[in-house]
Symmetry: C2
Subunit: 295 residues, 2 copies
């Protein structure tokens, strides 16, 4: 049971944690802070939080647990700002999509308090944002990855694990670097690839006409290109190393496919495509019917 929870960034991620813990009866009071006054007020009006704080200092000073749900680019400045106001024993955790940079920022900002920092990443979200997008079941049956380091206080880690379990999520621990590569491979790189394709088509004079022939297959493939541009800019900038490493591999793979097409090497293409199909079907045991898969 958390007595006072401070949520910095009361949007979809922060607001949904608040609603989930309230519903589970695992928190007494939720203090919310957002840089934008109207957002704080909206979160309060919607009952997403119990009290709106006027500053980060005000939000965290009596909190037992502090959850940072701000854009990746804001993690470091927020950590620097709250460091001096955290009460002894308070636990600080976050929901950032890439962990290496946040952990580094926390280590330098929190100094002696760093052992009370538990880096985390709830693998859930929708394309919506803001307090009005928050809902209590967002994390139900989703994974939450915690990336403790050597200094992390086991008791703090356990508290955050229990907090997320109360939302219905499956909580796992992972090495920071491994988390960042895994997420780059399954999320960050796919977003970059989809953004690049649709962005490239958008530059064509005949874009509208071309996209008129885009059917189900393209619609599914490009869905993630409909995600928030600023959020994904931040993720690309903060998970730079993992994404660049995978992009390098991706280029190499694409070059080989290009060469096979140029040299009409059907055997190579079948091998790659079949390997991909097998891996994909194994992961998603129920391969959905593809409307216009051939398109």
């Amino acid at each position: 049971m958390i007595n006072q929870l401070a949520i910095i960034g009361v949007g979809l991620i922060g607001g949904s944690l608040s609603l989930a813990l309230k519903q589970a009866g695992k928190v007494n009071e939720v203090i919310g802070y957002s840089r934008t006054e109207s957002v704080r007020q909206q979160a309060l009006d919607l009952g997403v939080i119990d009290r709106a704080a006027n500053s980060i200092a005000d939000a965290v000073k009596e909190a037992d647990v502090i959850f940072l749900a701000v854009p990746m680019a804001a993690m470091e400045p927020v950590l620097v700002e709250l460091a001096a106001h955290v009460k002894p024993g308070a636990i600080i955790t976050d929901g950032g999509s890439a962990k290496a940079q946040v952990v580094q920022a926390a280590r330098s900002a929190l100094t002696n308090n760093f052992e009370q920092f538990v880096a985390g990443h709830p693998i859930a979200g929708t394309e919506k944002s803001g307090p009005d997008a928050a809902f209590a079941s967002l994390y139900q049956d989703h994974r939450v990855v915690l990336t403790p380091v050597a200094e992390t206080n086991p008791a703090a880690l356990e508290s955050i694990r229990q907090m997320w379990q109360a939302t219905g999520a499956e909580v796992l621990n992972m090495e920071v670097e491994h988390h960042d590569v895994v997420l780059a491979a399954t999320s960050h790189l796919p977003h970059v690839l989809a953004f690049n394709l649709v962005g490239m088509l958008a530059e064509r004079d005949d874009c509208d006409e071309v996209l008129r022939y885009a059917a189900g297959g393209f619609k599914d493939f490009s869905r993630i290109a409909s995600s928030d541009a600023v959020m994904w800019r931040d993720i690309c900038l903060t998970n730079k190393d993992a994404i660049l490493g995978l992009l390098e591999q991706y280029h190499q793979g694409l070059n080989k496919i290009e060469q096979a097409i140029r040299e009409q090497d059907g055997g190579y293409l079948t091998d790659v495509f079949e390997r991909a199909k097998q891996a994909r079907d194994n992961r998603f045991a129920d391969p959905d019917l593809i409307d216009n898969s051939e398109v």
Copy 2:
């Protein structure tokens, strides 16, 4: 009304055309041929066709309309084989996903009869295949692109247009080269990109573990990587020029994004991502809720 329709390749595409025309009462008799005897029998048993032919010659000799629904790689040999057996005035059409190569093959195989060839592409399909996957409404509300050339007999073109309209499809005409670029951009390239990503992940030792963290965004993005490997090999080989041209552009776009990530140029990333989001949202006015879009 078609008196006798010959379908070469009685799978999802050929079988669905037969069922749609039967349901619409627009065909008297459908003769089906498949290289595999058991497939011909299955199509007959399922009522997808009225009679199974034992050879291409037997299938086409009395047909008024001949529909080629074979894999892209089989189009040329099939055209060569049937050329000598087509009755005068018969119309030959196809359902291939790339048109330049089929048109070229038809021109050389059909010689004097080439004016009776109408190249077409029904933009519809599912990930399933075979006669048992065929259903009458496959083409309902989908687009069918016809790519007539200078020699094409207008009467033959009109007959094929009416045939597809009877299935509930929207029929459009397009230049051969334009069709191949449009389909490469909206279908062939996305498939190559998805196959390459999943194929690359499949090569990792920790593939299973990595994919365990792949959520909704990845599932949608990679759905097309679950398509038939041989069919897509053939499409890549037959639409070589259009695909290679777009792959070149894609590499350039990816290189710019890579450079922006390396140089932490957030402005460039936001521009590309935002442009992509706008184009995608404009095309699909009802942006679906992305489960785990952030993942």
